[in-house]
Amino acid sequence: MDEVFKALADPTRRELLDRLFERDGQTLSALEEPLPMSRFGVMKHLKVLEEAGLVTTRRRGREKLHFLNPVPIRLIHDRWVSKYAEPWASALSELKRDIEGSENSNDEEEER
């Protein structure tokens, strides 16, 4: 878990994760293109993300594709966030249900 927090404690690495969230399965060339950094620099950041389990790779022919693995962040959520957020989360989901419930009943009335 230390490795995950260390990996997340860097703006370039967070940006790489955001970009993989938008488009999963990218090559190093695609990932480095918009970054003001050497190819070697981007490789080093990707290696830190891989070692933390946040990025996983697959080979396809000669290409190495990078995928976001969100599971370690989920583990942090389950360990460190959800138990503190639970009273809020359940109040919010009740609110959501109430709102959606009343919206649905409006819809039904409109349909009639």
């Binding site: 488009r23 990218q26 695609a30 995928f67 693995n69 599971v71 389950d78 359940s90």
Partner: protein, 165 residues
Amino acid sequence: MNDEQAYTVIGGRGAMSVFEIYIKTTPERLWEAITSEQLRKRYSFGVGTASEWTEGSEYKASVPGVVDIAGGENLEVDPPRRLVQSFNALWSEDVKREGTSRVTWEIEPVGTSCRLRVTHDQLGEDANNELYGGWPMILSGLKTLLETGEDLDTPGSLRYSGAAG
């Protein structure tokens, strides 16, 4: 940024998501937790998966009489290493329209642990992220169950448990 050009489509068959987790357990126990209807319920939103787990057999994830979650065919069954399934989401009209995708479970022993990799592919371009968005919570619950014997009870993780059958 030239995003369209930079993006590589996997095998020309659309999008793919990969989920990996390390769990301190044996491949046999992990395989059992994936294929036992009763164990599966404890980490998959309270939903069990019923199947004969033979190649070509069907599987169905549901709370009988309450909600159907997913179904499909077991394409490859190689215990305790590899399970490949076709995947049809059934929990809403929106996800039903997404059609058939594929889920591959791979178990690899690493020291005294196992690496479990779940690959969800053959998803359409811009597939509804509900299709694969549940995997992190499921895998987190599976890890908790196998390592502690307890159920993960974070909000939503046992949504359907206790639903009348």
